[in-house]
C-alpha cells in the first residue's frame, strides 16, 4: 500500500476507524496528515470535529478542516433536500470529491481511509444483491493513482470494527461515539446487521466473503469484463468524473453553493484515457 517516506493523507471523521488508522500509521513511522470535513450535521459534526482536533493537537499533528457551509455554502441536510438524494449519498460524493482534491493538491502519495472488514463486507453484500457491476470492479483495498485521481488505500480492511474500537480503548484514543443522525435506517447498516447475524452462526464468514471475492471473483468485474467510463475533467472545477460537470459541481448547482476553486495544476487533472475504477464503490 505504501513505501517508506510516502506522504499520506488520512480522511478523518473523528470516529474510531479513522483515528485508529491515523494512530497506527504514525506508530509505523509514516508521514501522515489528516483532513476533516465538517458536514454541517448539527452537533454531530461539531462533536466529531472536536475529537479529530483533540487527537491531532495532543500529538502535534497537521489536521485541515473543510467546512461545507463556509467554503461551499451548503451542508449535507440542505444538499440532500436540494438534490433529492439520501443524505448518505450526498455525504459520500462530497467527501470523495473533497478528499480526492485535497490529496492531489497536497501532492500526497496516497489517500487512506478507515474502512474496515465490516464496512467492506457490507458494501460487497449491497453490490452483489444489486449486481452493481462497476461498483464491484472497484471494490479493492488499493486503487492506484491515475485518471486524475489519487492513489486510495484502505489499510484496515483485514480488521473487524470491533478490533478498531478495542484498539482505541486500549490506546486511550477518545473518539466520537454517537452515530450520524442522518444515517439511521440506511441500507449499509441493514447489510451490516444481516452479516452480523450470519457471522454469529458461521464465524469467519465476513472474512471469507470479502477476501474470497478479492481472490477469486474480482477479476470478473474489472474493466475487461464490465462497462467502463472514460474519466473526463469537470469543466468547472477540473476534477475527474464521468460528465462535463462533476457530481460535486452538479450538487453545488442545485444547492446554490459556491463553486470550488479551479485546480491548482491542470497537469494533475488533465483528461486521461484510462478508467481506473475510482469513484463511489458502495450502496449504503
Amino acid at each position: 500500500m505504501f513505501s517508506p517516506g510516502d506522504r499520506i493523507l488520512v480522511a478523518v471523521s473523528g470516529g474510531k476507524d479513522s483515528l485508529a488508522l491515523w494512530d497506527i500509521l504514525l506508530e509505523l513511522g509514516y508521514d501522515v496528515d489528516g483532513l476533516f470535513v465538517n458536514l454541517g450535521i448539527g452537533d454531530y459534526s461539531s462533536d466529531s470535529g472536536h475529537f479529530a482536533w483533540k487527537f491531532a493537537e495532543a500529538r502535534g499533528l497537521k489536521l485541515r478542516t473543510i467546512d461545507l457551509r463556509s467554503e461551499f455554502n451548503f451542508d449535507i441536510p440542505a444538499g440532500s433536500r436540494a438534490a433529492r438524494r439520501a443524505p448518505c449519498s450526498v455525504c459520500g460524493l462530497s467527501k470523495r470529491h473533497l478528499f480526492d482534491d485535497a490529496a492531489l493538491r497536497g501532492n500526497y502519495n496516497a489517500l487512506a481511509t478507515g474502512h474496515n472488514l465490516d464496512d467492506e463486507a457490507a458494501v460487497l453484500l449491497g453490490n452483489v444483491l444489486r449486481w452493481e457491476h462497476e461498483y464491484l470492479g472497484r471494490q479493492r483495498p488499493v486503487l492506484q493513482a491515475g485518471g486524475g485521481f489519487p492513489k486510495k488505500v484502505k489499510p484496515l480492511v483485514r480488521l473487524a470494527e470491533r478490533e478498531t474500537a478495542a484498539y482505541c480503548v486500549l490506546r486511550g484514543i477518545e473518539y466520537m461515539l454517537e452515530e450520524c443522525p442522518l444515517a439511521e435506517g440506511n441500507r449499509h447498516l441493514a447489510y451490516k446487521e444481516a452479516l452480523n447475524g450470519i457471522e454469529d452462526r458461521s464465524p469467519g464468514v465476513k472474512h471469507s466473503f470479502y477476501f474470497g471475492f478479492q481472490d477469486r471473483s474480482l477479476p470478473l468485474f474489472t474493466n475487461d469484463g464490465g462497462p467502463t467510463t472514460k474519466p473526463i475533467s469537470c469543466e468547472r472545477c477540473g476534477a475527474s468524473g464521468n460528465g462535463q460537470v462533476c457530481a460535486f459541481c452538479r450538487l453545488l448547482e442545485r444547492t446554490g453553493g459556491n463553486l470550488p476553486s479551479p485546480p491548482a495544476s491542470v497537469n494533475i487533472r488533465g483528461t486521461k484515457s484510462v478508467a481506473n475504477g475510482h469513484g463511489g464503490n458502495r450502496h449504503g
Binding site: 470516529g15 460524493l93 474502512h115 480503548v169 447498516l189
Partner: protein, 84 residues
Amino acid sequence: MLTVAGQRVIAGRLEMVRVSLRNPPRVLEFDGPVAVTTLLTKLDLRRDCVLVIRDGTLVPGDAMLEADAEVELRSVISGGADGR
C-alpha cells in the same frame, strides 16, 4: 422500582452491577455477580457488536462482574456514507 424485562432501572442500590449504554444513554442495574455473557444475553446483544469497558480497559467475554461493578457497553457498529 421500574422494571423493564427483568432489569431494574436507575435504582442506585449497592450490590448491583451498573451498566451504562448509549443511543439512548441510560444506566441499567442487574443483580450481581453476573457473567458478561449472561449480561449480554439478557440485553439481547451480540458479543461481536459491543465492547465491555471497565475503568478504561476491556473486560473479556468470559469474565464475571462482581456485585458492585460499573461497566460500559459500547456498540462498535458504525455506518454511514462512503469516503471516510
